[in-house]
Amino acid sequence: MSELASRLGFGGRTWLRWAIPAALIIVLYIVPQLGGSSQFRLGEYEEVLSFLVIAVALNIAMGYGGQYILGITAVFAVGAYGAILATKYHPQGIGLLAMCMIGAVIGGVGGMIIGLPALRVGGFYLALVSLFAALAIPTVAQKWAFVGADTGIPLYAVLGYSPKLSGELLYVIVVSLVLLATLFSWALVHSRVGHRFVALHTSEQLATSIGITAYRTKLLAIGISSVLAGAAGGIYVYTQQFFAPGSSSVNFAVLLLAGMVIGGGGSITGPLIGGAIILGINQFFTSLQQYNGIVFGVLLLLFAIFLPNGLLARLNVLGERLGINPPRGFGVPGGRAPTAAATGGAAAAVAALAAPVNGSGPGTGLAAQPARQLPAWPPVIGAGDSGALVVEGARRAFGGVTAVDNVDLTVKRGQIHGLIGSNGSGKTTLLNLISRFYSLDAGQIRIGSVRLDDKPPHAVARAGIARTFQSPKLMLRETALENVIPAVELRVRCLGLESVLRLPRGIRVNRQARAEALEILETLGLHHVLAQEASSLPHGTRRLVELARAIALRPSFVLLDEPAAGLSPVELELLAEVCQNLARSGVGVLLIEHNVPMVLSIADTVTCLHQGKTLFQGTPEELRANTSVASVFLGLDEPLETPS
């Protein structure tokens, strides 16, 4: 990190980046000195602090993982009830730590029960079902005598209960717990586990293309989040010595959501800032509490529309201007490229067109390079087999349209197989069939003798097939380097826990993954965009980063979906070299392209599709000489060879 920092030439005010949060933490510890330290006041601070832990939990699942578990307060409540009930019946044996653990376990279980079915259907369902749970739990508790019904369970009324920690000591411990939770979430997010969350949040297709199991990762995000929220329940119970149905409600869930949106999800500190603001207002400005809903509702609305990235995004921009934060990107006309551009559509096509045409200079992300020597990239994943990628009799229809009709295709290791055809000829559908985004209606896809078409999408990458997309799919808020690392992490393995907790093997593996990703990016001439946010990169560079990601898997086969579109001549040259180098290294390349001359110049064999059927299969020379292909495919009356 410091290496990069010096490479990018920092100085000046960057120390403030660490100083400001450090100062805030110190202030947090001495709040009782500033705002009053009566028992009552301390209790209020501690209540807000325990809520902040829920905010941290929500941020992990929602801000990073993209799982809208809005009703996380239900998990909090269930954890809290669990902790307080356990204490009610064993008042002597349970301290703060025990409460947190009990809360964590019960909360975790509760979260999974809600998450499991809702996940099958989609994020939106999770949001509403969890919100309903947040409504149902207090409603049920209100009538259930076992949990004290409406009045709840007061611990101070339990005989034999006397908490060992209290006063300012307790406050300091609680603050430390909140910081610990925050540190944990930071460590999680910057570990292999966190990378998977962000990849999944960005795009399920992106995630599965680098071997991430979507369902399991979503569950993990919800699980970790629930465990943390349940633990927050334990903290709450210990500090307030009380829990009732009114302690958590749907409105409370909305408040937390407001905190996240206002502060800015997708960052570690954003939700804390937003949560502190919202919860602080709610807690300490009680005179107008009945109007809180209006204030928060309006705030939430305004932020959702105008500042969806929250305050933190604004602060970051301010920080950049003041020289505190490193600049996120340079050389793009008009500043940040529109986020929509990388997610497809006409806007993407337009953005692609406007990429600067000249090969070098600022704005392309590519330093002017002489012809480079690319290192070998022999396959690592799927290297055990020596079979080819075989598509046999593939057929797929959508409604009345047969997109792919009885297509045979073989990609041999060490060969470049070009796939051409006009729009709508079925090329991309075929690619998506191999990637298992669609199922075959008939036919087979296999590597050697191992069938692929009955496996889930993430198995494709794990079998050694990497791919790129027509519109580069990158994690836009991550740097170029951080985009490539998750691909390496598919084969450089350790336990998630080791990576998160920075155990020796975890640190080693994290470093190795980073180093390998770095190396590949540097080889492709991208060393000066390493630390730039992907959203600020021009189209051609994004394409190359995506290519680097595919290479980083060290796959046995690479599927490239129209990679040449929008590339400058220099970038095109690099693309061709990369393809040839992959083939030389023993990787099988399937290159879908519109740019027929390019395909003909580097492919070993070419397949031409037309309306889903195979029109031609053979060598480029044979294609050049074949008049019927030319006439059907291009509607030409002459072979593809131009006169003169």
Partner: protein, 296 residues
């Protein structure tokens, strides 16, 4: 005896289910032309109930005036919501759940305003349109307000089906939901259509409020509860289908009453939660589901 208990529960279930069905219908109207699920619909209904309370309980106005007042207020709120919370997102490419957060925020504001207007007054019953008598069917007493709710729900469903199949506007709405750009190219103003969808949804919600007010009395806190249960009715019946709304709502209502009768009373809300989890696990698209919600 057991049969009577069962029948009573069934009838009560169908009655409450009609409420859920009406809410689900108003969701579907919006959803079918904007692919947006408006969580504030439940609170809009409750705002209508509040209007009903004022008109009928406080000012003793005739029922028809109350109905018109409800329609006016709810449709107005609907249009405000469209302008303020939804339109900014309809213009953007459909990514993210920003619109959901916006509608949630809007519902929070409505709920708070309503709470403040109503204040600390106790919950009181609201007189029904057909009086507060009961009917006797097969030994079971059915309150007329329940029958009215059920009938109105069926009428609304049929009216909506006719609207979508037989009218220009209804067909255009279905087209806009499918492909806004092609619709625009054919001269169909997608934004105007969305606004109209909000008006129609507001009308349905207003009708719901009118028949629901005597059933829920003047409890202004139940907006989100009904809103969420309306969602569950949709999840069971399947998004995008009018018949799904009705069936989902009725099923939910009956399930709650049966749970109350045969498993344990007081905790019917659990019935809804369990039912939705089962449906999502077994048949995620619902009974008649057709389309997907604008996704994350």
């Amino acid at each position: 005896m057991a049969v009577t208990l069962f029948l009573t529960a069934l009838v009560a279930g169908l009655a409450v289910g009609s409420v859920y069905g009406l809410i689900a219908l108003s969701y579907t109207v919006l959803f079918n032309s904007t692919s947006i699920f408006n969580i504030a619909q439940g609170d809009l209904m409750m705002a209508g109930v509040l209007v009903s309370y004022f008109c009928l309980d406080r000012w003793h106005l005739p029922q028809i005036v109350a109905l018109l007042a409800i329609i006016a207020v709810v449709v107005a709120l609907s249009l405000i919501e469209e302008r303020v919370a939804v339109r900014p997102f309809l213009r953007k490419p459909g990514i993210g759940l920003g619109w959901f957060i916006a509608t949630l925020a809007f519902s929070l504001v409505i709920e708070t305003v309503a709470s403040n207007i109503y204040g600390q007054n106790p919950v009181v019953p609201i007189p029904g349109a057909l009086g507060d008598g009961t009917f006797s069917v097969a030994g079971v007493h059915v309150a007329t307000k329940f029958i009215l709710a059920f009938v109105v729900m069926i009428v609304v469903m049929v009216a909506l089906e006719i609207f979508y199949r037989r009218t220009w506007l209804g067909t255009a709405m279905r087209g806009v939901a499918e492909d806004r750009e092609v619709a625009a190219l054919r001269g169909i103003d997608a934004l105007r259509i969305s606004r109209l969808a909000f008006v129609i949804a507001g009308l349905v919600t207003a009708l719901a409020a009118f028949v629901v007010a005597p059933i829920v009395s003047s409890d202004v806190t139940v907006g989100l509860t009904y809103g969420l249960k309306g969602f569950i009715a949709l999840a069971i019946g399947g998004f995008g289908s009018l018949r799904g709304c009705v069936l989902g709502g009725l099923l939910l209502g009956v399930a709650e009453q049966m749970f109350d009768l045969y498993v344990t009373s007081n905790y019917e809300i659990l019935a809804a939660l369990i039912l939705v989890l089962i449906v999502l696990a077994v048949r995620p698209s619902g009974l008649f589901g057709t389309r997907a919600v604008r996704e994350v």
